[in-house]
Amino acid sequence: MSKYAMLIDVNECIGCYACRVACQTTNDLPSDISRIKFMEKEKGTFPETEIVVLPTQCMHCDEPACVDVCPTGASFKNEDGLVLIDYDKCIGCKYCITACPYDARTFNTSTGKVDKCNFCAPRVQRGMQPACVEACVNDARFFGEVDDSNSPISKLIAEADTAKVGGTSFYYKLPEGWDESLPEDAIKPAYVKNLTERVHPAGKALLGLSAGAVAASYVMTRVNGGHEDEE
């Protein structure tokens, strides 16, 4: 389970994208790669329509699908519940991009590796706030420890209008009546199970079966005297 959580108060988000720019600057990202995405949600009937910007990023799932499919162990969940990438181990195979239910990962062509939000782990470890939280001009973003029930974020989470994205470390406060705009609970795509529990084990069994049949034939044809050669 996660020790840290992030909360975005969508009512306060003005869609200025300062979080995105701060994130790119802090993490030395090229301008075409963003760890934060913005879903523009429209609701209502004309003339009473509204657009609300809903920022999304890595939700730091409790049981991350990306970690399951990573063949090198580069994607991992640390003891603080942060889902991180060990860049020494990432080979850029992109399996995690396919597995992520939140489209939170992008391929960085300049490094040949996969990129995503790490909750600014190096800053957090130094007692700082993530860059996006610090940069937010209207205080729509909150980050902190959920273990401590007196922390500001714990108090916000306890409020009635806060919704949790199930199975993740992410919370939103949404405008009234916008409940269906909440990102869906973290459900591992069928891909994860098909790959790790079906295709890989079945394929390995097939290879073993073939090798076993060959070994059995090798012994039996010699025990039975290699009749073809004698004829």
Partner: protein, 234 residues
């Protein structure tokens, strides 16, 4: 001295053999570099840098060899390629009977198999799996290279197909290589892919219908002394 053992029957021309060994080389390299992402222990042994190099080799071979192999088959030996394709797509009851009885032969039990053409039913299945399997691997491989252009839900299925195809073809190639190299009944077949000829005895016993067709046209007598002996006898 038996001169019979030195009469050989031409089975594959040079282009066919080069195409076969190109396919074999490409498959083995692709399997060794690709399966490092399936067998985690083996992948860990290569390490991240090794895996990155493996991935690079995998893409270079996977992109280039299918073109090389197709070019050899279609440009250098179109006639035999056409005959091969016609043969592997034509099936009759004797093929079914061959497949039903082959397990006995495989495990060294005495069995009389129905007479076969140039390619027996097992070789036809191996050919079909190779043809359609390679097509699947090339198409899904290209989609994985260009995966940014497809949605993750499409790539999820493409990746599953690529992994399944690799493992299935890996299982087939183990048995294929064993039949050609280690099985006492069929290991003479490897010479057809090395020198291009097989012994007359093997041709007659394993591909009787084909042997009857080509025994005069494809006859090769190997070795000077034997040839002299033969001339003297004649």
């Amino acid at each position: 001295m038996s001169k019979k053992g030195n009469v050989r029957i031409k089975r594959f021309n040079l282009a066919e053999r080069v195409a076969h060994w190109s396919q074999a080389f490409a498959f083995v390299v692709l399997f060794l570099t690709g399966s490092a992402l399936i067998f985690r222990g083996y992948g860990a042994l290569l390490g991240a840098e090794g895996l990155r190099i493996a991935g690079m080799i995998h893409r270079i071979i996977g992109v280039s060899f299918p073109i090389i192999i197709l070019a050899i088959l279609l440009l250098l030996t179109p006639k035999t390629t056409k005959e091969w394709l016609r043969s592997v797509f034509s099936w009759n009851m004797s093929d079914i009977k061959f497949l039903a009885l082959f397990p006995k032969e495989f495990f060294g039990l005495k069995v009389k198999l129905p007479a076969q053409g140039k390619f027996n039913a097992g070789e036809k299945i191996n050919s079909l799996i190779t043809i359609f399997g390679s097509m699947l691997m090339v198409i899904t491989g290209w989609m994985l290279i260009l995966q940014d252009r497809f949605s993750p839900s499409v790539i999820a299925w493409v990746h599953l197909l690529h992994a399944s195809g690799a493992l299935l073809m890996g299982a087939v190639i183990i048995a294929h290589a064993y039949l050609a190299l280690g099985h006492p009944g069929s290991r003479e077949a490897i010479n057809g892919m090395i020198s291009g000829t097989v012994s007359e005895k093997f041709a007659k016993e394993h591909h009787e219908l084909w042997y009857n067709e080509v025994k005069d046209t494809n006859r090769v007598v190997v070795g000077e002394e034997v040839q002299d002996l033969k001339e003297r006898e004649a």
